[in-house]
Symmetry: C2
Subunit: 135 residues, 2 copies
DNA sequence: ATGTATGCAAAACATTTGCACCTGG
DNA sequence: CCAGGTGCAAATGTTTTGCATACAT
């Protein structure tokens, strides 16, 4: 994810956008909230407003370079979408996020959508619990 | 769900609580937002504050008599939890909510949780799309 | 009687928007 | 140059909280 990737989706290459991409790539667990990103930028001495972060992430989501995850506790985090589709395990204590893929679940989801006559636009599957380090 | 059910979970039997239970039971699709419930109560001539609805629903969720669903668009709705576990199909256009059960998906979820060493506390599975009447 | 529940208004939060200024191509 | 991007502050929408009053047991 670099300047070229931004151009190829029709977005101008600006400093905030590059910085936000960089943070999403280099952050420890690759799942960052707006607040996380804001604090990181401030620590790096950048002058950004949260509004910009919201706008940039929304645009990134629209062009498909990030995914937004909305957890039950109300927190939202973003991840780069340069990997294959996956779902998430979320530790309710330490906040760790694991990713998993299960083809059978995917297939059954599609069967259900078809059975009920829906035209799928999105889905969300989160499993919440205590991770192995937290229980 | 009646006065006796409230007593049995240790909650005082009050008018707002009974009214809210009644609304959840008798509402068309059994999935109501705080706003929906508030408007219904006002139309019935009841004097309630939204704060009470939030507090009551939170308590109901804590004792397990309602489930809270958090959709990606930020909307939250509540349903009585007196039926078997199920997941949800949500129409992104008309807001219709269908419920489904898939044992294979449930089993795979448990397998994944075990594989990653988590102790499950909750999960959420929503499938979003256009329902058969909306495409 | 007494501890809990309620209504109201204010506060808290997260997110969005309006607008003047700045910047990338 | 100029359309689009940005920072700031104000506005929004939703949920929570403080407090005096009302109610269930």
């Amino acid at each position: 994810m670099d300047a070229q990737d931004l151009k190829s989706v029709g977005l101008k290459v600006t400093l905030p956008r590059l910085k936000i991409l960089e943070i999403l790539e280099t952050s420890e667990n690759h799942h960052m909230s707006v607040e996380d990103i804001y604090r990181t930028l401030i620590m790096q001495g950048e002058e950004v407003g949260v509004a910009t972060i919201y706008r940039v992430l929304t645009q990134f989501e629209e062009v498909g370079i990030v995914n937004k995850l909305n957890f039950d506790n109300g927190q939202s985090v973003f991840e780069l979408s340069n990997t294959d589709h996956h779902d998430h395990l979320v530790c309710v204590k330490c906040g760790k996020i694991d990713e998993f893929v299960d083809e059978i679940i995917e297939k059954h989801q599609h069967d259900i959508v078809k059975k009920y006559g829906y035209q799928l636009t999105g889905h969300c599957l989160y499993l919440y619990g205590f991770c192995k380090n937290c229980h």
